[in-house]
């Protein structure tokens, strides 16, 4: 039975198929040509390097889709639909070639028993998946899932594809009168149910099912690049072209002036930033993970991606005729509000869960760069930037006060600019200047001293490393700070850098280069872990917890340092009770990306740090909230006060806990009995 050897209203079936295929592929191809043309108008960005890594990244994240499985209800259904799609897309093309080119000596795919088996199996699995997906959309939609007609239509069309295959199989069996077969288990079951249909009618219906299937697929092809299901086509490429350095390293290729000016028109975004919108599946994972969105700030990461796509299309190839001639909406102001652009804490939760590996944070920073270039920056941030420019710290204090905590604590610490040290401690602004943190900084120093660590400081030579400055969008100031630090570092003699602040850690590690090579940087939690494992720190714990530990964004998600702090806590004999959101789902304190310098908008519902403290407070028995970031101390101690949890839970730096145990071990025995 060859379904194209029929006559449709007097026209040979094969001719009809040719006409439909040409029309569908023509429309599809034209649309893709237009879309690629738009991308080519964006700025160039080299994503064609490191092919080996890209192939591996593609195989893992497109074929296995680990990030889809992060949400259990839809993980398996999507996985099945995806693979069903792959199978059906392959067989469609196969069948199309067979139908269009009769001289090609191949059978139709469903004439091959094993293919038929797989088509049937996946038809049923996909239908089950569709059932779950539909039920999710109708009855328990997660927050921020975009519930469009578009999506429901697609679900319906896929169901039609699956059912047309199954019924086609069944009617073929009935028409041919062939016995039930294990190669078509579900077709055979259906055939049994449909045995009352006459052979002639079954034959016609089988052919009708084939045509229905082909027409729906061809229609799908036309519809795809106009709908949210463009992600089907675009996202594999989006994953392939992902930049693994982002956003830990925000260095972008191109002329510096261009970059520091950011983007105020879509043409000033890179092709990859434009492409992100084509890949977005509107699943809402990023919005659900976003601390700014949860706090009621005017930001939804998905909208950042979506709005670029909508703006791009609406001002170009999809521009409504009525809009022609009227001024195009501006990217900043009309499309994005300033509030939206400034709300991001750069915590990377969105990018960490995006199933198609979109890059929201760098896009936001690009928009910020434009605002900064125009001087459109909040007063408090302006003050900070002015302070950083002049004094090298955000506190607006004299750089000579940077190491005041050393003298006022009666400590003697080496000056790495004057004598060689093994570890150069890059202290960072908060640990150096914030009076609330001075004592913690001194305790950290005493721990290092107790371990006989050979370490030193840059004293007043240190400048803010520039992590937050860069993420605020002040690229020029970042470069200034980086260059000054590199000049000072060039004069110092050291083997490794140790930092207390994860933001500083991130930028020194990923955004600084000496002779093209990265610096060797460790976080103090890594160093403490090492010192303890080497037996260099005498420890005699005073308590055994239980405690909980907060993974700082720039340590955890950005740099995957999850275990060293946990090993330190274990070595201290502390029982760790994890918060529900921990490791890579840790919840941002709200300070990153320069937010610590900004005012909260009036519509704030619950600040991220308050939300986090409540999460910890709900843990049974936990009275200590351990952090490994100076900004976390500032943020969470405030949040403990504002949530009225004082006396219930205390925020402590991991170095304080280590010092407690070290001090206890170093005190003579009478201390222990007291």
């Amino acid at each position: 039975m060859d379904p194209v050897q029929i006559s449709l209203l007097g026209v040979p079936g094969r001719a009809v198929l040719w006409a439909l295929a040409i029309a569908a592929f023509g429309v599809f191809g034209w649309r893709i040509y237009q879309l690629v043309g738009l991308l080519r108008q964006g700025r160039f960005e080299n994503r064609f390097d490191r092919l080996g890594w890209r192939v591996g990244h593609f195989l893992r994240n497109v074929l296995l889709q680990p990030r889809i499985f992060n949400e259990r209800s839809i993980g398996l259904p999507h996985f099945l639909i995806f693979w069903g799609f792959v199978l059906y897309a392959g067989c469609f093309n196969w069948g199309l070639i067979r139908g269009l080119l009769p001289f090609v000596p191949i059978p139709y795919p469903d004439e091959v028993p094993v293919v038929r088996l797989f088509l049937e199996l996946f038809a049923v699995l996909v239908l089950a998946g569709l059932g779950v997906a539909l039920a999710r959309r109708l009855f328990f939609p997660p927050k921020y899932l975009h519930l469009s007609f578009d999506a429901n239509l697609i679900l319906f069309l896929i169901a039609v594809l699956m059912l047309s295959n199954l019924f086609g199989s069944a009617f073929t069996q009935v028409a041919e009168g062939s016995p039930a077969t294990g190669w078509a288990p579900f077709g055979s079951l259906l055939a049994a149910a449909l045995s009352g249909v006459s052979k002639g009618a079954a034959h016609s219906l089988a052919i009708a099912m084939w045509w229905l299937h082909m027409i729906v697929v061809l229609g799908f092809l036309v519809y795809l690049p106009y709908s949210k299901h463009l992600h089907l086509l675009a996202s594999p490429f989006n994953v392939f072209f992902n930049n693994p350095e982002l956003p830990a390293d925000l260095t972008l290729p191109g002329a510096p002036a261009e970059i520091s000016a950011g983007a105020s028109r879509w043409q000033e975004l890179t092709w990859k930033q434009l492409f992100g919108g084509f890949s977005c599946a509107e699943c809402g994972r990023c919005d659900r993970s976003c601390p700014a969105a949860a706090a009621g700030f005017p930001l939804q990461p998905q909208q950042i991606i979506q709005k670029v796509k909508q703006h791009l299309l609406a001002t170009t190839i999809d521009q409504p005729r009525s809009a022609a001639g009227s001024p195009a909406p501006s990217l900043i102001g009309d499309v994005f509000t300033e509030g939206e652009i400034w709300a991001c804490t750069t915590c990377m939760a969105c990018m960490n869960c995006c199933a198609v590996w979109n890059e929201q944070v760098p896009l936001i920073v690009t928009l910020r760069r434009h605002l900064v270039s125009q001087g459109q920056v909040e007063r408090t941030v302006q003050d900070m930037l002015a302070n950083l420019t002049r004094y090298g710290n955000s506190f607006g204090k004299s750089d000579r006060m940077r190491a005041k905590w050393v003298q006022s604590g009666g400590l003697k610490i080496k000056d790495a600019r004057k004598e060689p040290v093994e570890y150069l401690w890059f202290v960072g602004d908060y640990a150096s200047f914030d009076p609330r943190l001075e004592e913690i900084t001194r305790k950290t120093a005493r721990v290092f001293q107790a371990a006989s660590l050979d370490f030193g400081l840059l004293f007043e030579g240190e400048r803010n490393a520039g992590n937050d400055v860069r993420r605020v969008g002040e690229e020029g100031l970042f470069e200034l700070l980086r260059d000054r630090n590199l000049q000072t570092l060039a004069k110092a003699r050291f083997q490794k850098i140790v930092t207390t602040d994860p933001h500083t850690y991130n930028t020194l590690k990923h955004e600084y280069r000496v002779d093209g090579r990265p610096l060797e940087v460790v976080h103090y939690t890594e160093l403490l872990d090492q010192l303890i494992r080497d037996g260099r720190l005498p420890l005699k714990p005073r308590s055994n917890g239980p405690v909980t530990y907060h993974d700082p964004c720039y340590l955890g998600r950005y740099n995957r340092i999850y275990d060293p702090p946990r090993r330190v806590l274990a070595a201290l004999g502390l029982e760790l009770r994890e918060m529900p959101r921990h490791r890579d789902t840790s919840y941002c304190c709200g300070a990153g990306g320069g937010r610590i310098w900004m005012e909260d908008t009036a519509d704030v519902k619950e600040r991220p740090a308050e939300n986090r403290i409540r999460e910890a407070a709900a843990l049974e028995g936990v009275r200590t909230f351990v952090v490994a970031c100076p900004k976390d101390i500032a943020m969470f101690r405030d949040a403990v006060k504002t949530t009225g949890q004082e006396g219930r839970i205390a925020v402590q730096d991991i170095a304080e806990l280590v010092w407690d145990a070290v001090e206890n071990a170093m005190t003579p025995a009478k201390g222990a009995t007291a």
Partner: protein
């Protein structure tokens, strides 16, 4: 409009100010210079006026450490020309500064164009011998307004209407015929931020005109004696302890004085 902004670098009080060995000047070791806050506002006000009424903004400053950064920053913000007067070894007093600046301005414009507005900071923290603006008002015999917090231009550039701050939030509106000089306390908007990239671009594209300053002998009327850091007449009794303990002590004091 012909807008001229006179800038004066002053010691940065964020840094520790010490008296030098001679007892009559600041110790140079930790000394850094910056623009005073009112001068920052004078630049902003000049740029706002230029944006509204057109014209050019010319900056005039006496050479001092870090003055180039200040001038390039102002150029990056939108000023058109910068003149740096060189030759002063140490910051001169206001009368000498005023005469040097006046000579420079006369060298560029003589007479002053009718639409000239000269702006400078209303005060500087080292104005021991008086503010700059009145000295220049006298030198050019043009009208003066001090402690200005808002400027409107009327009559097609012939008249300035300024708002002066008094106290308690009370302000007064005055009108002056141009050319005139204003001591700016605060601009209508806070000084704008200019990104470093633009300042660096200005350093490449713009130029600072250096001119030798005409520095007269300082007038002999004042004898500077000793300089010293203030000896606090008293010092607060510091309350120590944790927040609860401190609160108890404060409450005790308040109760003693029957404030609660």
């Amino acid at each position: 409009m012909n807008i001229v902004v006179l800038l004066k670098m002053v010691p940065d009080t964020v840094e520790e100010l010490n008296v030098g060995a001679d007892g009559r000047s600041l110790d140079a070791e930790f000394l850094r210079y910056k623009l005073g806050d009112p001068d920052e506002h004078a630049i902003e006000q000049a740029l706002l006026l230029k944006e509204k009424h057109g014209g050019t903004v010319t900056l005039v400053a006496l050479d001092a450490p870090e003055v180039d950064d200040v001038l390039f920053t102002a150029l990056a913000k939108g000023a058109d020309r910068a003149i740096k007067l060189t030759g002063a070894e140490s910051p001169p007093g206001t009368p000498v500064l005023a005469q040097a600046v006046a000579a420079c301005v006369r060298g560029v414009w003589n007479p002053l164009p009718a639409d000239t507005l000269i702006l400078c900071g209303s005060y500087a923290i080292d104005d021991l011998e008086g503010e700059l603006a009145p000295w220049l008002a006298t030198a050019f015999e043009i009208p003066l307004a001090m402690v200005v917090a808002g400027v409107q231009i009327e009559d097609g550039g012939r008249k300035a209407v300024v708002t002066r701050e008094f106290f308690g939030g009370l302000r007064g509106e005055f009108e002056l015929d141009l050319p005139a000089i204003l001591g700016i306390q605060s601009a209508e908007k806070p000084p704008r931020y200019v990104p470093i990239a633009k300042v660096r671009a200005a350093m490449k594209s713009a130029r600072i005109d250096s001119q030798a300053a005409e520095l007269p002998e300082p007038p002999a009327g004042l004898e500077l004696g000793r300089m010293a850091k203030p000896e606090a007449a008293g010092h607060a009794q510091m309350l120590e302890g944790d927040p609860d303990k401190v609160a108890d002590q404060i409450i005790e004091v308040l109760a003693q004085q029957s404030l609660i």
